[in-house]
Amino acid sequence: MTVQSLLFQAIDGLAAASGLFFVAAGLSLIFGVTRIVNIAHGSLYMLGTYVAATIALRFEGALGFWGGVILTAALIGLFGAVIEIVLLRRIYRAPELFQLLATFALVLIINDAALWIWGPEDLLGPRAPGLRGAIEVLGRRLPTYNVFLIVIGPLVLLILHLALAKTRFGRLVRAATQDREMVGALGVNQGLLFTSVFALGSLLAGLGGALQVAREPASLLTDLIVISDAFVVVVVGGMGSITGAYLAAVIIAEVKALCISIGTASIAGVAFNFSKLTLVAEFLVMAVVLIVRPHGLLGRRQTVMRSLAEPEEPLRPAPAALKAVGAGVVVALALTPLLARSQPYVLVLGIDVLLMVLFATSLHFIMGPGGMHSFGHAAYFGLGAYGAGLLVKWFAATMPFGLVAAPILALLGALLFGWFAVRLSGVYLAMLTLAFAQIVWSIATQWGELTGGSNGILGIWPSAPFDIRSAFFLLTAALTLLGVLLLRRLLFAPFGYAMRAGRDSQLRAEAIGIDVRRVHWIGFAIAGAVAGVAGGLFAFAKGSISPETIDVGRSIDALVMVLLGGIQTLTGPIVGASVFAVLQDTVMRQTEYWRALLGAIILALVLLFPAGIVGGLARLRLRLVRP
């Protein structure tokens, strides 16, 4: 590597920075005014790539391309306005967690819509008319289109900056970003302001996507990749700060460029391929920034938003009826292998359900009583699965060792990531946990020599006597029962109370000597270890493990399971996970468009049944008892 090549990569990195900036600026703007983290922002970008490519292919030539870019931006802006009016308006006052989930449901629905319209194949657009050449920079060829991107990023930043500083609309946006209550007081039409901000943000995402068409094909995978990049940029730059977004986009693009240009270097005699670090690097930058400046480089401390969730009922010991049901479930589990003689599939489904129960209960432990809304719980499930799988693959270990390694690796990961996570709260915590899960996923995908890359690890089979399905089922049932009861017991012990105390009022908890961070950290680690057990069992149940099974989708599944059952009840995650796992197995397998179906379920939950199944039943009972 020479200084020249380094410089060249740095210049080229600025082109990537512009693309990142468009998405992140829109995301940041929307968050600043509406306080909603729009996870579907990457989907808007993806739609931008598809729409622009379609238009450019249809109407060839300069007008088709450049006109298409502008038309696409306008269309996506319009689409954003529709989303805001139809969906988001209903959830501005909902708890943060529900807002995140609702926009995630949009991601699923939009992705399936794109699959339906454009099919699964990538769509390659034409190259930009007039900018197909290259210029010589530092002895290398830099595409003119990249030069164009390098210029347009700061240009849009300037335009946005002027618009925010000089116009009435801009003043309102800034006022709303700084103090939301004030906007209401100013007598402004808040609905119109929110809709137009959302439209503007969407337009920027559409523009970013449209401009990308000349460089990369439109692909269904773009949405999640782009949104996680954009999150990192917004969090690093500071939520609500446009200039911060550009700064962060540059930093991250440059760090990536640096990793690529270093390539393989040897550190202390060991060859290390830095270009593999690209995915992880941005999350490392984010982690560092969040620790040093928890509100981002140019962000301000956000005014704490009132949580609008209904307050929780005090924890009461299980009534006799619940204990009876619990005993019944245990007996039924013990007898299931008998039933399986005629219906062998029951065991397969049963194992799936049990593992999801254990996984969801562990997430609920930190999410409900701990108030930590982790969007990356799959990380610990994955660490458990890989902990077991790697031991089998590299040391030919038998299952008992694998099942011990699983929670240990997950625990270590949760201790490390949790240490950072408990320093934040709300959306920042959600984003950081998501980022950590992405790191785990990237390592599993990119460190092929160790993990088998995207093929994963095969041949992780249980050892005798558990190589018989029914025995494995019983083992799973026993461990799940143990895990669920352990977590439940902890919630009734001082530790669980301390965790809830920290959630209810950090101020009061600290004022009676509770070290809230430490309590939440330990809680996070315990939940991680339990999720690790579920992951380890999962690997042995399937006989294999691959990055696909530990991706962001699994984190979201866990969230949905917890909410489906009801976050404010202890039995909620158990019921939610069971229902969800069965649904997934029966309904979702029937259709290619299971994502959209899942999205619809999430939206129904958020809009219609915020208390979940168990919570809803409890309310119903209260209403019947006390008319």
Binding site: P311, E312, E313, P314, L315, P317, R489, F492, A493, P494, F495, G496, Y497, A498, R500, A501, R503, D504, S505, L507, R508, A509, E510, A511, I512, G513, I514, D515, V519, I522
Partner: protein
């Protein structure tokens, strides 16, 4: 030796000097009122003493130890209890559980043991609730309580750790006059019995003049008077701060909440 000694304590927010070189002391067993108009810096003083905020400069000595800048849970461990201007309790717990948790923490048992909270320190918690007149409400969810009862619960929580010094930020805010006097009478009786020193803020002059052993007055972050009820009432500076002109305190009484 004084229970608490504060010297040259200062804190600014942006350009605002919320607390400006304040010096005073709390004597053992004293019932000391800190008064001043809205925004004078009273709560900020409290927040620095209990460790919620780190002071910009100055010293806070408690039990012969410099405590400025320590985290609030350590200051609590040393024996400083606190109630908040906007009462803070654990809303997802019952009344008695709130107190039990404080007792558990005081006993250093947060990380210890499997035994459910329900059966731990329960007798003592009920006893404390009885003392503040809340025994009947023990099993209710604390979020259902009326505001006055929340203040009582907070007081019980603060007593649970047997503090040497109690900081009470507007213990009677939002209460009817009658209820107000009842609560302060109760507070004073209980702290005198236990020998606890109290520093409290209060907007009701009736309460202050009737109960405080001594009064210190804060205005725009500066300490402007220190003395007994009579001295403070007659202090020209205090009268000026409260009324701008120099009329008597009696009118103000009706104006304040």
């Amino acid at each position: 030796m004084n229970t608490l000694e504060i010297a040259n304590l200062s804190k600014s927010f942006g350009g605002v000097r919320a607390v400006d070189a304040v010096t005073f002391a709390v004597r053992p067993g004293e019932f000391l009122a800190l008064i001043g108009p809205n925004g004078a810096g009273k709560s900020t003083c409290f927040n620095m003493i209990n460790g919620q905020l780190a002071p910009d400069s100055g010293s806070i000595r408690f039990a012969d130890r410099e405590i400025a800048g320590l985290p609030s849970r350590m200051i609590w461990q040393l024996g400083v209890g606190r109630t908040f201007q906007v009462a803070a309790t654990f809303v997802s717990m019952t009344v008695v559980e709130n107190v039990q948790l404080a007792l558990l923490s005081h006993a250093g048992e947060i990380f210890r043991g499997w035994r459910p909270v329900a059966r731990r320190h329960r007798e003592r918690a009920l006893e404390l609730l009885g003392e503040v007149g809340m025994r009947e409400a023990a099993e209710r969810a604390s979020r259902e309580l009326a505001y006055g009862d929340i203040k009582r619960l907070e007081f019980a929580i603060a007593l649970a750790s047997a503090p040497k010094l109690l900081l009470m930020d507007e213990p009677t805010a939002g209460m009817a006059p009658r209820e107000r006097t009842d609560l302060i009478t109760l507070v004073k009786r209980l702290v005198v019995e236990r020998g606890i020193s109290v520093l409290f803020t209060e907007h009701s002059m009736d309460v202050v003049f009737a109960f405080a052993d001594r009064i210190i007055v804060l205005a725009r972050g500066k300490l402007i008077a220190d003395g007994d009820a009579k001295a403070v009432r007659e202090n020209a500076l205090v009268q000026q701060v409260y009324f701008g002109t120099g009329k008597s305190f009696e009118r103000k009484r009706e104006l304040l909440p």
